[in-house]
Symmetry: C2
């Protein structure tokens, strides 16, 4: 991408009410645009980051048997009344709207109910189980306050997978499998070292649910972390009995602020009973399907990456989610596309700052926008290229050939 | 994909109120699921078709300088009041909702207004023009009747590109370019031969807008087609003056039913004036930005393909949009994955019917689901594979090697 062609660009002025680093940096860097509190558009570079995260999530979900589908925003109240989640007194974050005939509709904040009804068409026998449909789809939640940038939105993308198993045993097997897939996702997104499996309150069918919490000063949650054992306990269930239960010692735990980047939850037969999703087992007996739900907010992951990976100059994107791997700054009096074309031919994802503006602006924008590698072409450097990683202070000079080999990971 | 693993499957019973072929066949084939009138979920196979169409659209939009972004559903009324499109008396298809503080929000039925406001951050000088942002995003329209399956939905995906040009001349240049891109899209989706550029009513800034209308008995529109000249006139502007204007002869025109699969529209300065989007020209003078909008509904394209490409047995997907190129039916007593793996290794998109059910069901499902090629493995055929195109009656026997070469397009 030539930067001169990009319709979005960095901004100096952003809305004054933004208090979070993620929103400040993403707005300034030209990744997102604010429509209103908790409602953000994704500009071209932001959309690439979001798609990169989505594709990491997709590949991990597909690898464990997930099947992608796409459910609707508009929700039929009749379905939600059966599970007692329609009334505002039981769920206080609904956005609701109306058809022309004045019938109320909901805007989905999650999808257990409609999916359970849908699956009644496809689950009849034990042979139809287990199944793991998922989607990456927009959810709506009528939050009273939405002041955390893209971390807590009124409208946001969510990956939600639902498991449909024959019984608790089959469920627990899958639960361990998706736990590992979640670890993989956060690791691939560059959050592996600071993300902890965290015990949180469960439901009727399991003592705990599990959250994936990433340490950050901006987090809304308090967790107690055992860094050796790589697990944590959410403040909501932090007490002596739970610690004993989990074999944790108070003295090994550190209180930390963290943000929930994912959660996995045993639903049991709560929804299958309410909405009558049954199957016939091997002995011909009718049984309730045993369910679980597993969420990740790709936008929240993106915000968390920015919260935990930036400096005073701007964002530091990890390679796997960066919109481009390389930011090529051309400071020469006579700019040309030659080296940019070479990088493209070598399939290196590159944004080329070909704008006719002064070098200081180019350097500042590159730091703010945060691509993992910065390359500089300058008349002073003769035929060498200056290479700097965004997360390092070291600057080195290489030949064009060497730079290509480094970026392709072939350089020794 | 192994068909035994797929959570969705073909259905015999579908909602009785479905009158359209597209909804009937897509519901029976396991591509979509109906939440309510005009509101459909996409099941795994349906989502692949939709993604294939989206990716064709994306590649054509990117090729002409389109830049993908993603705007929000939730809409701030203040923006729409300025263009006089907030009140229900001016726009009668709004879905509206409310924040906790009772402030009303809209659910976007299109995005001229918010995007025009957004672009005020990025367009200042003539050097910032032209720009062509687009998105593939969910729209909401409160239709009184929604009885055309996925052709006219209350919630539906839309590709909307908006052009921002310095003046009418620059706009008209792009208008011709995107016209060609639209032809390419419909051609690649298999609708090229029956889709006509159709003159429809314009606005203040141009005499006509242009629709792309696909001939189908189920279409909501009446158009008059000149098949030689490959253009048509919408009934809404069909009169002697217009025909004279366009150099068309009444005797060359045939009245046809058609469905609008895309439209391109000159907006002029209507929205830039209302929302104050200006730029400074070469002479330092402030000018209104000249706009256009260009829509395609990927779901409607999918429905139109089904309407125009099916027989009494089911759907006939064109190769480019089919969920899989090949449907491999295994009728052998002892099924095994060997040939399925060979096809996969050759990167042929294949769905493998490995279910332990009778051959008749497999044949019927294959016809209903409509993959372009059907392959049969059977003990009767010894080491040969039976190949049949979905759109042909010819059945031939080939060796496994020959089949692979045919599917890879190498067979002479």
């Amino acid at each position: 991408m030539k930067q001169s062609q990009l319709f979005s660009h960095t901004l100096k002025e952003i809305p004054r009410d933004e208090v979070s680093f993620n929103a400040q940096l993403l707005l300034k860097g030209g990744f997102i645009y604010k429509e209103m509190a908790g409602v953000y558009d994704y500009l071209p570079l932001g959309l690439i980051v979001l798609d990169n995260i989505n594709n990491i999530i997709r590949s991990e979900m597909n690898a464990i048997g997930g099947q992608e589908m796409f459910l609707t925003v508009l929700q039929n109240p009749e379905v939600w009344k059966k599970s007692k989640r329609w009334e505002d007194k039981s769920v206080d974050i609904w956005f609701k709207t109306k058809l022309k005939n004045n019938n109320e509709l909901g805007m989905g904040f999650t999808h257990e109910e409609p999916l359970t009804v849908l699956m009644k068409n496809y689950i009849h026998s034990y042979k139809d189980l287990p199944k793991f449909p998922y989607q990456i789809q927009t959810k709506f939640r009528n939050e009273i306050r939405a002041r955390s940038g893209i971390m807590r939105c009124r409208e946001f993308l969510m990956k939600d997978l639902y498991s449909f198993c024959a019984n608790q045993e089959e469920h627990e097997k899958f639960y361990e499998i998706i736990k590992k897939a979640y670890y993989n996702i956060f690791k691939r997104c560059g959050l592996g070292d600071i993300t902890y499996l965290t015990f949180a309150s469960g439901g009727v069918f399991s003592k705990y649910s599990h959250e994936f919490q990433t340490l950050t000063a901006f987090g809304e949650d308090i967790i107690y972390v055992d860094k050796k054992k790589k697990i944590a306990v959410n403040k909501e269930v932090y007490n002596d009995e739970v610690l004993k239960n989990l074999g944790l010692d108070k003295n090994d735990l550190i209180e930390e602020r963290a943000v929930e980047v994912g959660n996995i939850f045993t639903l049991g037969t709560k929804f299958s009973q309410a909405l009558d999703l049954k199957y016939t087992d091997e002995k011909g007996k009718s049984q309730d399907v045993f369910m679980g739900s597993y969420g990740i907010g790709p936008g929240r992951v993106m915000g968390t990456i920015v919260e935990t990976s930036h400096d005073e100059k701007g964002i530091i994107w990890p390679d796997a989610v960066a919109p481009y791997k390389v930011h090529l700054l051309d400071l020469r009096r006579n700019q040309d596309d030659r080296f940019y074309s070479i990088l493209q031919k070598n399939k290196i994802r590159v944004i080329y700052d070909d704008r006719e503006i002064n070098a200081g602006v180019k350097f500042n924008d590159a730091d703010l926008m945060g691509m993992p590698y910065r390359l500089v072409l300058s008349d002073k450097l003769k035929n060498k290229v200056e290479l700097k990683r965004r997360d390092s202070k070291d600057i080195s000079l290489y030949s064009e050939k060497e730079v290509v080999e480094i970026l392709k990971g072939n350089y020794k």
